[in-house]
């Protein structure tokens, strides 16, 4: 990546964050936003420091995490359609979270943990199901298994929401639609603790992801421990997805669209691709969140609706360009 592109990227990130901080339910001039960031006390400062800043930071980290999960899964399965949402991870995580809330064990730390168990169970089930085609993992069967397991988890979630009388479950479907309306520094702290290890592991193993993207056999011959690596990718993406779902509900298409968009411009090694995808994914979700809170003020649209509305047409364009 050239220096010019690097400067452009930094400017784009700064622009997105500034836009995220300066828009919202309250119209605040830029000077107030800037003062509010550094000086506590006024009610404007409270809005900027305690509501907008964690919201933008959380949207950025969740977007980045979902995007690198998508990129890692795509490298492992060697299929550009792989994504936490399409592979059933998000629904598995949602089911775990809903079960935790229904059994009255829902706290800020326990919901992500339960979501992790759900995502991991979904991955295991998807993996086991896709082995019906033989020892070698067929990417198409894997994707199909992901869709089926996702639908199954969705059905169980619906059943629990209808049958459970735990207070938090009733409106869980609204929370699952996704949104950052209740972002706080506490939520940011919880998310960071859960996400830093898997994100770090993926960055650390970026060279191995290049090998894995070549195929199992070439990767093995080039010295990669394929099975161990694959388990690591499953665990890391499951944990990243679980932390995201527990924080802001099911937000789809980030892991699909962002790596795709980056790869259409240039095809770097994963050592460059992963950080790039993380930053672009972060910006994408920050912008989607800006739209979600400004489109129908004072109401909020679920951010998952925005990512799908932007993501699906963009994906169609990318798909055509890739095939042509």
């Amino acid at each position: 990546m050239s220096t010019g592109r690097g400067v452009l990227l930094v400017a784009a990130v700064a622009g997105c964050i500034l836009l995220g901080l300066s828009t919202g339910a309250v119209a605040l001039p830029l000077a107030d936003v800037w003062n509010g960031l550094w000086h506590a006390g006024s009610s404007q400062a409270a809005i900027v420091r305690d509501l907008r800043a964690p919201r933008v930071a959380l949207a950025f980290l969740v977007g980045g995490s979902l995007a690198i999960s998508g990129a890692a899964l795509q490298a492992m399965i060697r299929n550009p359609l792989a994504e936490p949402y399409l592979l059933g991870l998000s629904s598995g995580a949602g089911l775990g979270a809903v079960i935790a809330i229904a059994s009255r064990a829902g706290g800020p730390w326990s919901v992500p943990a339960a979501a992790f168990v759900g995502a991991l169970s979904a991955v295991a089930l998807v993996y086991r199901l896709s082995l019906v085609s033989g020892r070698r993992l067929d990417p198409h069967v894997l994707l199909l298994s992901g869709v089926v397991v996702g639908a199954f988890a969705g059905a169980l979630m619906s059943a629990i929401m209808v049958l459970s009388d735990a207070p938090g479950v009733r409106n869980a479907f609204l929370w699952l639609l996704g949104g950052f309306g209740t972002a706080s520094w506490q939520a940011l702290a919880v998310f960071s603790v859960y996400a830093c290890i898997p994100a770090g592991l993926l960055f650390f193993h970026s060279r191995s992801l290049d090998l894995l993207a070549l195929g199992d056999e070439p990767a093995h011959h080039l010295g990669a421990e394929v099975d161990r690596l694959r388990r690591m990718v499953y665990l890391c993406t499951a944990l990243l997805t679980a932390a995201s779902v527990a924080t802001c509900g099911i937000v789809g298409f980030v892991g699909l669209v962002v790596p795709h968009a980056v790869r259409t411009r240039f095809r770097p090694l994963h050592r460059t691709l992963l950080p790039l995808v993380f930053v672009v994914g972060g910006c994408f979700l920050v912008l989607a969140d800006v739209v979600s809170r400004t489109a129908v003020r004072p109401l909020e649209l679920p951010v998952g609706v925005i990512t799908a509305l932007i993501g699906v047409p963009l994906f169609a364009v990318l798909l055509r360009r890739t095939i042509a």
């Binding site: 409106n171 309306g181 209740t182």
Partner: protein, 305 residues
């Protein structure tokens, strides 16, 4: 989403239970007109003419507000089916429970051999009404969203069950009681009230709901009265920007939000200025609305003192 948001109040009126069914798209249905020799005809809230040969003696009521009204106008002996959420008056519990009021089971309705079915006027119920009409059972689709629906629907129910004089007197008593309850609160400053019906995500009540009217008549002003639908999802920032003096919650609404860090930006949360109410009179527009307004007005005065 518009469809979802507009359907939420229905769920709230049914006792605060929301399920994902409301996410699904609206169904449209065409209804053949039938029933010859009709002596009694009313136009329902869907715009259809519903014809009956005589006042209905067996009514299935699939709206809690309608069940309550049927009992209130003395037509209780005609009610042969109700929803799971019809909990007032207590005598309504003796009526067979037919389950859900939105997309109900037609088979279960038929088993009660009704001469009239009253349905909530929503997109999903259009197909149900059409199916019932095909089976020769008149279906009346009714809106019960605002306080003025109480006397209006009472009179419709009075006509179709042959209890019009009782319905007329109930309507007259209701209008007077509503005026009196409102007049008693019409002086002084009006505290800004946030009607918070859910916390994660924060969901509030707009001017399309009777709860907005209850609060306004009790002497408060809804900080989100600019939301034209009955309810909507907002952000904590939007709440902080409106800076409510009081926060109205129901027993089925949010409970733990006051301790959450992001809510501390809202001064009314920090000072624990809450209006907590329970009781089904806050779930649906009903003849109990004047009493509900008095209760709210007392609570507002007590908190403000």
């Amino acid at each position: 989403m518009g469809g979802l948001i507009s359907r939420l109040p229905v769920a709230l009126h049914r006792g605060g239970r929301l399920s994902r069914w409301w996410v699904f798209a609206l169904l449209t249905g065409c209804r053949p007109t039938a029933a010859p020799a009709a002596r009694l005809s009313v136009i329902d809230d869907a715009g259809d003419t519903v014809r009956l040969s005589a006042p209905a003696r067996r009514v299935v009521s699939l709206i809690p507000a309608v069940t309550e009204l049927l009992f209130a106008i003395g037509a209780d002996s005609t009610v042969v089916g109700r929803t799971a959420y019809c909990d007032y008056p207590p005598a309504a519990h003796a009526v067979p429970n037919l389950g859900d009021g939105i997309k109900p089971s037609i088979e279960t309705i038929l088993a009660r051999k009704p001469e009239l079915v009253v349905l909530y006027n929503s997109g999903q119920n259009a197909a149900v009404a059409g199916r019932l009409a095909e089976l020769g059972i008149p279906a009346l689709r009714i809106n019960t969203d605002v306080l003025s629906d109480v006397p209006r629907v009472a009179r419709i129910l009075g006509r179709v069950t042959g209890h019009l004089p009782d319905a007329d007197s109930l309507a007259a008593v209701f209008d007077t009681a509503l005026r009196n309850a409102t007049a008693a609160t019409s002086s002084g400053t009006r505290p800004k009230v946030l009607l918070l019906v859910w916390e994660q995500p924060p969901m509030t009540i707009g001017r399309g709901s009777f709860l907005n009217e209850l609060v306004e008549r009790a002497g408060g002003q809804n900080v989100f009265a600019d939301i034209t639908t009955s309810s909507g999802v907002v952000s904590v920032e939007a709440v902080a920007a409106r800076n409510p003096d009081l926060i109205f919650t129901t027993s089925e609404g949010p409970s733990a939000f006051a301790g959450r860090p992001e809510w501390q930006v809202v001064p009314a949360v920090r000072s624990h200025s809450f209006l907590r109410v329970s009781g089904s009179e806050f779930n649906r527009p009903s003849p109990r609305a004047p009493a509900a307004i008095r209760e709210l007005a007392d609570k507002i005065r007590a908190v403000r003192r």
